[in-house]
């Protein structure tokens, strides 16, 4: 919340992404909402667009979405060209995302212990940690503690995988 005395215009608040990204995002939103709007008519509805039926609300929501997206697109097109701020990097978020995808596929076959310990270690590494031994120890300890706590005390089953524990 801004507490300075300088006037702050809502549309001028610094947005981290560049103008180009904003416009691309707006276009994506327009396309998505439009698609879903058309998809309303795929919904089985004996009463058609009757407000009490299953199509009405989705129609309203996707319709509003489309209108708002167009508004957002216009707003983006009208905004002044900003200079690029180059200190945001894409590598780490993409790496973490890839890591999570791998995790989703590997957690069952490898088992919770191994998969999660790996997840923790690699994630910490990507996020900037450089102390190899410390990270490995923490990764293993946390994973084991969580595993025991959950399977023994909370009775939640976690995949056993390779270790068969």
């Amino acid at each position: 919340m801004s507490t300075t005395d300088e006037p702050v215009k809502a549309s001028e608040v610094e947005v981290e992404a560049s103008r180009l990204v904003r416009i691309i995002a707006a276009v994506v939103l327009v396309v998505l909402s439009g698609t879903f709007l058309v998809g309303v008519f795929d919904i089985r509805s004996p009463k058609g667009l009757d407000p009490a039926g299953p199509r009405f609300f989705p129609l309203l929501v996707t319709g509003a979405w489309l209108l708002l997206s167009i508004g957002y697109l216009v707003e983006g097109l009208r905004s002044p060209r900003t200079t690029e701020k180059g200190d945001r990097s894409w590598f780490e978020p993409v790496a973490i995302s890839g890591l999570l995808v791998l995790y989703a596929f590997l957690v069952v076959p490898l088992g919770y212990l191994i998969a999660t310990a790996l997840l923790f270690f690699v994630a910490a590494r990507v996020l900037g940690s450089r102390q190899l031994v410390r990270d490995i120890i923490v990764a293993v300890v946390i994973t084991v503690v969580v595993y025991i706590a959950f399977t023994q005390f909370l009775d939640i089953s976690l995949p056993e995988g390779v270790l068969g524990l």
Binding site: R44, A64, P93
Partner: protein
């Protein structure tokens, strides 16, 4: 009032202590809020047979987070929560003079006083409002859910367009799945998995936990690695002396009076009452400047006492509409509503009749939580601050692990993790593009209810749409909703009427609460 009996059960006390501890940790660490923590713990609490313990813990987390936030505000001038910003102004000045303990003490005691008083208020106010609410019909429910969504959206974030976009996306996600009233499939894309829709927990964990982690990951190069460390000199003097007490008690009461009603109104959270309290205390001190030296700007204890009390009182205020009407007035409240729904506890007028014990126990636990907060925190300040030394990579790696754990335990397959990741990526872009996150949560949680009430109203009235406007209560609420859209523009409107230049184009509030 046998809620107290249940609360004093040692197991529940344990949950309260655990909650408060977790909350303190979370509040101290910047970037992680109570909403995220409760969201991460939701899947774990699934398996609790008894929801009371879980709720006691959540309440403890919220209180703890509030206090943790003010601790860092005072000690190192980095508010852990947006509601603690007001405290930092005078609180840190006091710390610089070596009076940190006094500041922390007035914050803690003020919070306790405020919490107790406002919980008492809650107890008295709950029943009558509950009775009023039991007269609600479906049109009124529809109108009021609409009001909650619009009001929070309008006040959160910098742009109405983006806020509404967030809201519609949330509403859309809530639509996915089998329509309960007609059995038609909506947006399931032919897969069986989506028949039940997207679990709200996945949305919350994805948006808050994964989205935040991805966002932090992208800013690694540009943010400093370790926050400032506590310096010895700050804890020089002891707790509160007589003069401090004398100066604090009135701000405590005034803060409570501000916090409680503002918490009950749909808004971003505790920011409004805390800043309002700060401004009021400052003005009072200026006026009384002749009698006592005005220390504002240099460490005035009133500037800590008032806002902290307001902060705490607003939480009980939030509980009023949440428990009696099922109406969340902030993002954290929405997460707690989701928690209620998961346990099949539906807040609203029925709640007090069907689940009386649960509710009163919860309220009683608030008293206890407050007390525990007070006892646990004051002596242990130096220890708490050590928490800040946890290296950020490990912290976020841990969050990732917990997020996956929670999401995975929902169904036992990696599919949910992928979905949470997808939503997390959306959350990442939302943060980059300055889209507020709270409206999405509200849309997902309240959307289905709103639609159901809407259609039910129409069925009952046989398709007559005017029913929304003929019933006076619904009409009033709908008018309020429309007005809520304009509230953020109030400064401009007022300035135009006065003919002056507005100092701020639009009111904005944070969404951490």
């Amino acid at each position: 009032m046998h809620g107290f009996g249940t609360v004093l059960d040692p197991m529940n006390l344990l949950w309260a202590v655990l909650g408060v501890t977790l909350g303190m940790l979370v509040g101290i660490l910047p970037g992680i809020g109570p909403a995220l923590t409760i969201a991460l713990l939701l899947p774990i609490t699934f398996n609790f047979s008894d929801p009371i313990g879980a709720f006691i813990m959540f309440a403890g987390i919220y209180y703890g987070a509030m206090y943790g936030g003010s601790t860092t505000s005072i000690l190192i001038n980095t508010p852990g929560e947006s509601a603690s910003v007001a405290t930092a102004i005078e609180g840190h000045k006091m710390a610089l003079k070596g009076r940190a303990r006094a500041a922390l003490a007035t914050a803690a005691i003020g919070s306790f006083v405020a919490g107790t008083i406002s919980t008492v208020l809650l107890t008295f106010v709950a029943k009558p409002i509950g009775n009023l609410a039991s007269q609600f019909q479906s049109t009124d429910y529809f109108a009021i859910t609409l009001l909650a969504m619009v009001a929070v959206t309008a006040l959160v974030g910098h742009s109405l367009v983006r806020g509404l976009l967030s809201l519609t996306v949330g509403l859309f996600i809530g639509l996915i799945g089998l329509d309960s009233l007609s059995g038609a499939q909506r947006y399931t894309f032919g897969t069986l998995r989506l028949l039940d829709g997207v679990d709200v927990v996945i949305v919350i964990v994805g948006l808050f936990a994964i989205g935040e982690t991805l966002h932090v990951a992208s800013k690694l190069r540009s943010t400093p690695d370790r926050p400032a460390v506590l310096e010895k000199g700050r804890l020089r003097t002891g707790y509160l002396n007589k003069n401090d007490w004398k100066r604090s008690w009135a701000p405590w009461l005034r803060g409570t009076a501000l916090g409680f009603p503002f918490g009950a109104i749909p808004s971003g959270g505790a920011e409004v009452p805390t800043f309002l309290s700060y401004t009021i205390e400052r003005r009072r001190a200026r006026k009384a400047g002749r009698k006592h030296p005005d220390e504002f700007g240099d460490g005035a204890i009133e500037g800590v006492a008032g806002p902290e009390a307001a902060n705490n009182a607003s939480f009980s205020g939030v509980l009023v509409p949440l428990l009696t009407l099922g109406l969340p007035t902030s993002a954290t409240a929405a997460v707690m509503l989701a928690a209620f729904q998961i346990f099949n506890v539906q807040p609203g007028p029925q709640l007090f009749e069907d689940q009386g014990t649960l509710v009163w126990t919860l309220i009683a636990s608030l008293y206890i939580g407050n007390l525990i907060l007070l006892i646990m925190n004051l002596p242990l300040i130096a220890i708490w601050v050590q928490v800040l030394k946890v290296p950020r990579p490990l912290l976020y790696a841990g969050i990732l692990v917990f997020a996956c754990l929670g999401v995975y335990s929902l169904s036992g397959s990696g599919y949910e993790v992928l979905m949470a990741l997808l939503i997390g990526v959306i959350g990442f872009f939302m943060r980059k593009l300055d889209f507020p996150i709270a409206p999405v949560i509200l849309g997902v949680i309240l959307g289905p209810t709103m639609e159901e009430q809407f259609r039910r109203s129409l069925v009952i009235s046989n398709g007559d749409a005017s029913v929304f406007f003929t019933r006076p209560l619904s009409l009033i609420i709908i008018i309020l909703t429309v007005l809520a859209l304009f509230v953020p523009y109030l400064p401009r409107i007022v300035a135009r009427i006065r003919g002056t230049q507005a100092s701020r184009d639009r009111l904005t509030f944070g969404e951490d609460d």
